[in-house]
């Protein structure tokens, strides 16, 4: 990773400057295959970081390690002062404070939209029904589909389902939200509505780490763009630098293929 005029680097947090999520020396292997090699990344409060790269580069694995959907082998992952370790209490706390939006939405098909969103607050934060419902309706309004509340997920379009998933994550009032390729499973005409929701979220000051191929979103909304390949962070930069003046060969190759 070269220095030159690139002010941003992986270990220097953007946003407000104080670090929200940090990864130090993180390694992760699946059997013989090493998915993450010595990852060092600091994400600041209110910062939006977009992670991109070819498939198999480890981007999804990285964010799944942050909320323990995968267990990292070496290194430290710290979220707002709490280290992700084998401590049950830490794991539970981090999962409460960090939300996740999945590529396949993963809404619960047997519950209504409203129930999907209130499940977390009622079961995990132990709110009563009234309070949870009020919050849920606020979140559904924020993602602009309050009228879908009594319906079941299968009755909604893909874009609407993903927005419900975002509302579900928001209902836990998280400090940060992780996005794992949120628009990859959507039909083209629905991608915009989800990206608009995510942009509004970013502008309201949410800390976000997004794994995505949507470069338009990265250019417009991200504070920093991280390029990963073969399990390593290859290049980091502000969108201006990243897209107009990439330094590494691999970055240039990748950008030439997708832009």
């Amino acid at each position: 990773m070269t220095e030159t005029a690139v002010p941003a680097d992986a270990t220097r947090a953007g946003g407000t400057g104080d670090v929200m999520i940090s990864c130090e020396g993180v390694d992760k292997s699946f059997g013989d295959f090493q998915a993450l090699k010595d990852i060092n990344l600091a994400v600041g409060r209110k910062e939006v970081v977009v992670v991109c790269g070819p498939s198999g580069s480890g981007k999804s694995t990285l964010i799944r390690c942050i909320n323990r959907l995968e267990k990292h082998d070496r290194g430290r992952i710290v979220v707002d002062g709490v280290e992700m370790s084998d401590d049950l209490r830490n794991i539970a706390e981090i999962r409460r404070e960090v939300g996740m939006v999945f590529q396949q939405f993963n809404l619960f098909p047997h519950l209504t939209v409203l129930e999907n969103v209130t499940l977390g607050p009622r079961q995990v934060r132990r709110w009563n029904k009234k309070k949870a419902n009020e919050l849920a309706m606020q979140m559904l309004e924020r993602v602009r589909i309050p009228e879908q509340a009594p319906k079941y997920p299968a009755q909604l379009s893909g874009g609407q389902q993903q927005r419900v998933a975002i509302a579900r994550a928001l209902a836990m009032q998280p400090k940060a939200i992780l996005f794992d390729e949120p628009t990859s499973a959507l039909d083209p005409e629905m991608i915009k509505e989800v990206l608009d929701t995510m942009q509004e979220l970013a502008e309201s000051g949410m800390t976000m780490i997004c794994v995505t191929h949507e470069m338009g979103f990265a250019r417009q909304v991200a504070h920093r763009v991280v390029f990963m390949a073969d399990g390593q962070i290859v290049e980091v930069g502000t969108p201006e630098h990243f897209f107009t003046n990439p330094q590494e060969e691999r970055t240039k190759l990748f950008l030439s293929q997708i832009l």
Partner: protein
């Protein structure tokens, strides 16, 4: 001038003797056309129809002749009560009617509440499902000698209709509590038989015994099977091994082995001080241990069908493993395997007749025993008694099967 190109004549594929789609979806045709298509489509088909039809006609004729003319149904008529409840004290038979009345009332209520929630009930479908039951009751009534049963049945029907009306007036929210009411009714029906008398289920005989065993075994084996299935899919190797070992061991042996084990050996497993379990208890334990393994395999199929993303999403919002299983995994898994589970329960109901082998007096044993009664001995009436027993059990299982098909269809509509 354009050349006319001759389109090659393509031979249509020969008509297959086997359909590959549901014949019920074919459009209606005139009777003549229908006959041609379905019975006489080719020469060998026509020949086959004639020969087979003649054979079937003859067999059917002989069957009807047997049932209505040559058979001596007196043996069934005289022993009807014995078939139903064995040697239950005749003076206490009112208990059976109380139980039936209770079940009618709650069933009617359930139907009413369900109709309220789902709007118009499909009368035809309901009738189709109830038809075997109606035939069942009609046949039984035809065999009774007194007027009491007919009166009681009429009374129960009235009670059911009345409670259905009540159910339709109740607010739909009551529907949430119906399952609890159903469970309570089962206990209530049992209480009707045993309250205030020294009789317990260990004294049940006849069809009553089969019904009791079926309901009790189904109720108990279900949670057991679910736990086994969850254990089999556990990430703890030790738990998984034990559950797999149990399931494979039980599925490898015949049910009769377990029943005979229970009958001869269960006493040995009980420490010296405690009371020896009764005969029916032993059979029940064997049924539960046996059916639990099969239920576990069905539920496991359901658990496997849930996308892993569901559990991940639950983890991501911080749901504990227990809550994830209870609120997210099990509701979806069980809904997916309801058809297989009902099939298992139907099998269990059929298997209850096996207790005849270990000496319990269930309906099959009654069927065998009554042919030795002095007034009927040596007349070769086994066909009548066995046919009647078969009819009893078949009606119950067929109704369950129809209900299951209806449930499958409804589940396909409900969630999508």
């Amino acid at each position: 001038m354009a050349e006319t190109v001759e389109t090659p004549q393509v031979e249509p594929a020969e008509e297959s003797p086997v359909l590959t789609e549901d014949p019920l979806t074919q459009p209606a045709a005139t009777p003549g056309e229908w006959l041609r298509a379905n019975l006489f489509s080719t020469w060998y088909n026509a020949l086959f129809t004639v020969v087979f039809g003649a054979f079937l006609g003859y067999a059917f004729f002989r069957l009807l002749l047997f049932v209505f003319v040559t058979a001596n149904w007196e043996i069934v008529r005289v022993n009807l009560t014995t078939f139903m409840v064995g040697r239950f004290p005749r003076g206490e038979l009112y208990r059976a009617w109380v139980a039936i009345g209770l079940v009618s009332a709650v069933s009617g209520l359930g139907v009413g509440v369900a109709a309220r929630r789902r709007g118009r009930a499909n009368r035809v479908a309901l009738l189709r499902m109830a038809a075997p039951g109606i035939v069942f009751v009609a046949v039984l009534l035809a065999l009774t000698s007194t007027a009491t049963p007919a009166l009681m049945v009429a009374l129960s029907a009235l009670v059911a209709l009345g409670s259905r009306t009540v159910g339709m007036r109740l607010p739909p929210r009551v529907g949430r509590y119906m399952p609890i009411l159903y469970v309570a009714t089962v206990f209530g029906a049992y209480a009707a038989f045993s309250a205030g008398s020294p009789m317990t289920y260990n004294n049940f005989q006849g069809l009553l015994l089969n019904v009791f065993l079926a309901i009790a075994a189904i109720t108990l084996c279900f949670p057991f099977g679910v736990l086994l299935a969850l254990g089999r899919r556990s990430t703890f190797p030790a738990v998984r091994l034990v559950c797999v070992g149990y399931i494979e061991l039980i599925r490898g042996v015949p049910l009769i082995t377990l029943l005979l084990m229970g009958a001869t050996m269960l006493g040995f497993f009980v420490p010296a001080g405690m009371t020896r379990p009764g005969q029916v208890t032993r059979a029940l334990v064997a049924f539960v241990l046996f059916a639990g393994a099969y239920v576990a395999e069905d539920v496991r199929g359901g658990l496997q069908s849930i996308p892993p993303g569901q559990v991940e999403a639950a983890k991501a919002i911080g749901l504990s493993p227990l809550k994830t299983t209870l609120l997210i995994v099990l509701p979806q898994a069980l809904r997916n395997v309801i058809p297989a589970l009902v099939g298992q329960f139907i099998s269990l109901t059929k298997d209850t007749v096996l207790v005849a082998i270990i000496g319990l007096t269930d309906v099959l044993r009654v069927a065998r025993a009554v042919t030795s009664q002095p007034q009927f001995a040596g007349q070769g009436l086994q066909a009548e008694t066995l046919l009647f027993t078969g009819f009893l059990l078949w009606s119950i299982c067929f109704t369950m099967s129809r209900a299951s098909q209806r449930l499958e269809k409804r589940l396909g509509v409900g969630m999508r």
